[in-house]
């Protein structure tokens, strides 16, 4: 009995100790959230919570950015040495932020997805930064970043990386169908979605592969990343919180969405054929299996840095236009950073934020994970962006005036929009296909939901 009791006590102690050890992920310089008060000539620590694990490539870059920043020996207005301390929370960052709202103690800076800025503003978690940033800093970013970071006329968020996308095409296959290099779309003379489909018809007639990978497999985030441009390019928009039904049932928005319908239709195909690529191979384009795909910059990097079969025989056209419209929106959006309401020194936090999202950080990130820098001077000076497909993508990024919808209900909106596009994809299965009715139904739910 005594032994049993001893075992019970040990088990109990072990259980309690394991519970006690369940603390937050430790970060560089500790996971603490508070900002230390600077003494005269002392250190001012700016705390940052990052959405990546420090073992991931992106996390490693953040760690390097922190070390580089700390080596600079920057001073705050009060003369204290400014230092950055990062905590890496990975996918649990959101939970950590929610918990900290109850207990207090948000860090100075948090990572925020571009599409989530409005939610964080609406919840009063992040604060405007335009007045605390040094002069000219905000103007050094590409428009898509400052657009994404601006809510109700105030700048809240900046990012050092962007993910421009476009229409990847296989030159060899298109040439075999009678196209010449002069036929391929450019920013000045973009292909429309109808042009893309026409090319598919010509490719098929020439006995070439003809499918396009629409890459909807990203889920609703991917739908919004790759296909919010459908609406913008046709002159439509996503409205504002509580008014998305009205915006997305406008003739322009609906016409934009309908650009995609032709790829789900089955005209001119056998029963087991589709115009869109529906396979499992994520490298169908880079392996030279299909002639088209809509995608972000990552595959260009894979092809350029690797030994892809199509290296030198592919290009990236601008995101297809809507027939008769000059609007240009291109896939974009990425994680960035914002200063929280709990920061005791917004000016110092903005100094750190500007470095965290500046040209040097953007270049480090490009080298590590392939996202594009958002600093215009860096885009103009880096050798990779001076010619070839990377220059094309850079040009699309700079020319892009749009960003993903900025709404507090974005998570619901992206799901609803994804549902609409999924409905379109299943147009041959659903009964009484009616796109407008579906848009109305889905968007009404968004309008009626709580922000």
């Amino acid at each position: 009995m005594a032994n049993k009791s001893k075992s019970a006590l040990l088990f109990l102690l072990g259980g309690l100790m394991s519970l006690a050890s369940c603390g937050p992920t430790s970060g560089v310089g500790g996971g603490g959230a508070s900002t230390s008060e600077p003494g005269p000539g002392g250190n001012k620590i700016i705390t940052v919570w990052v959405h990546k694990n420090e073992n991931e490539d992106e996390g490693k870059v953040y760690k390097q950015i922190q070390n580089n920043f700390n080596a600079l020996g920057l001073k705050t207005a009060s003369g204290a040495t400014l230092r950055m301390s990062m905590s890496f929370y990975g996918s649990t960052l959101e939970t950590k932020i929610s918990g900290s709202l109850m207990t207090g103690g948000l860090p100075d800076i948090i990572a925020v997805d571009s599409s989530d800025v409005a939610s964080k503003v609406y919840s009063e978690i992040i604060v405007p930064i335009e007045d605390a940033l040094e002069e000219g800093v905000a103007d050094s970013y590409v428009t898509s970043v400052t657009e994404a970071g601006t809510i109700d006329g105030h700048l809240y968020w900046l990012s050092g990386m962007e993910a421009p996308g476009g229409l990847y095409y296989n030159k060899t296959m298109l040439r075999a169908a009678g196209y010449t290099d002069a036929d391929f779309g450019t920013l000045e003379n973009r292909w429309t979605w109808d042009d893309v489909h026409e090319a598919q018809v010509r490719l098929k007639a020439a006995g070439q592969p003809y499918q396009i990978a629409l890459n909807e497999g990203f889920g609703s985030d991917g739908y919004m990343y790759l296909y919010s441009s459908l609406v913008y390019n046709a002159g439509g928009d996503f409205g504002s919180d509580d008014h998305v039904e009205e915006a997305l049932t406008s003739p322009e928005a609906l016409a934009g969405m309908r650009d995609l319908e032709q790829f789900y239709e089955t005209d001119g195909l056998a029963s087991n054929e589709t115009w869109f690529y529906n396979g499992t191979a994520s490298n169908a384009f880079t392996a030279g299996t299909i002639p088209f795909q809509i995608h972000g910059p990552w595959d260009a990097r894979v092809i350029e840095k690797g030994s892809s079969a199509i290296k030198g025989n592919y290009g990236i056209m601008p995101y297809p236009a809507h027939e008769g419209s000059d609007e240009f929106s291109s896939p974009c959006g990425s994680f960035g950073f914002a200063v929280t309401k709990d920061s005791s020194d917004v000016a110092a936090a903005c100094q750190a934020l500007a470095y965290l999202t500046g040209g040097e950080a953007g270049e480090l990130m490009y080298n590590a994970i392939g996202t594009f820098p958002t600093n215009q001077a860096k885009l103009d000076s880096m050798a990779d962006f001076q010619n070839g497909v990377m220059k094309d993508l850079k040009d699309y990024l700079v020319a892009n005036d749009y960003t993903r919808p900025r709404q507090a209900k974005y998570p619901r909106l992206k799901d609803a929009y994804g549902e609409v596009l999924s409905y379109m994809r299943n147009m041959n299965i659903v009964s009484n296909y009616d796109l407008e009715a579906k848009v109305r139904e889905e968007m009404r739910d968004v309008d009626n939901a709580r922000a």
Partner: protein
């Protein structure tokens, strides 16, 4: 260190509750053994349920948990008007109605089979149990590849056999049934072991007596096997039913609730509302309503099947 040295001597007296006499020392020891479990249950089960109950009457948002407003029964009223809940409930009901008999039949059938098979018995047990040990996310990914429309192995075989490619997970009319099949395949091995254990506890002389009376194998199964394992069957049925009501991971990984909401289940909808949409108040209200529904069905079924009275 002896336990006596840390507890006062009078702790070891005997005491009575009703007609039962207890030894204090043994009771303390028992409580200490149960304490970690109790503590963990309080932290991870009862406390969240209590917090969820409180949030259900508020407009709590994941990003504004410091600013919560009491909204009375608004969340519950909203739940009764939400068309997405109707869809999720319908999908869940179809899933439960299909997966329960399928998985129950498969597990019982496999158990009966393994109870008779003498060769490769251990290998077969392992083979049928392996899917249970695999992560739901891993098996979901595996099946996603197998069921792919364009390049999946199953569609390739169908085409070789002269059939037409099927949409499977991408077809709103097929996706839910694919998930039913995959769930039954993955879960049946666990219940099979429980049934096998119950089958092996049935006295052999019952079957010998039945054989002497010239009862057929089918008659033996109906009149000896099934009545003998009825308590096990009730237990398996109820746990299976509760598990089926909680289906979440497979649609989350394989279809994201689509296509066109055809695989959106209640548990996944609760998760999505609370985590993705951050509407903690509403999510808590639905979760409470759904818990009440599951409890009612489970208790009703238990009463109906008389599981309490079977020893």
């Amino acid at each position: 260190m002896q336990i006596e040295s840390i507890l006062p001597a009078r702790s070891f007296a005997r005491f009575k509750i009703g007609r039962t006499e207890y030894n204090t020392k043994e009771s303390v020891s028992g409580i200490l053994f149960a304490l970690p479990c109790i503590v963990l249950s309080i932290i991870f089960v009862f406390l969240p349920i209590f917090i969820s109950l409180m949030y259900a009457f508020t407009d709590a948002n994941m990003l504004r948990l410091d600013r919560v407003t009491f909204v009375g029964l608004e969340n519950f009223a909203r739940a009764f008007e939400d068309p997405d809940i109707v869809n999720a409930l319908r999908n869940t009901a179809i899933f439960v109605a299909c997966v329960t008999p399928l998985q129950f039949g498969a597990s019982l059938g496999l158990a009966v089979l393994l109870n008779r098979v003498r060769h490769c018995n251990t290998f077969l047990r392992w083979a049928f149990f392996i899917p249970v040990m695999l992560s739901l996310a891993v098996t979901s990914m595996l099946w996603m590849n197998l069921l792919n429309v364009q390049e999946g192995l199953i569609n390739t075989f169908i085409e070789i056999l002269g059939g037409e490619r099927q949409g499977f997970l991408e077809d709103p009319t097929q996706a839910l049934y694919c998930i039913v099949f995959i769930s039954a395949w993955q879960g049946a091995g666990y219940q099979m072991l429980i049934f096998l254990s119950a089958l092996q506890n049935i006295p052999k002389d019952l079957y010998e007596a039945a054989s002497i009376d010239q009862a057929s194998k089918w008659q033996q199964f109906i009149h000896i096997t099934l009545p003998s394992i009825k308590p096990t069957m009730v237990f398996v049925l109820i746990t299976m039913l509760i598990g089926a009501f909680r289906i979440c991971i497979q649609p989350m990984v394989m279809t994201g609730g689509g296509p066109l909401g055809s695989t959106m289940t209640m548990s996944y909808y609760i998760y999505k509302t609370g985590i993705d949409y951050r509407d903690v108040g509403y999510s808590s209200a639905i979760a409470l309503l759904y818990t009440f529904l599951i409890a009612t069905v489970s208790l009703g079924l238990r009463k109906l099947l008389g599981g309490d009275n079977q020893k």
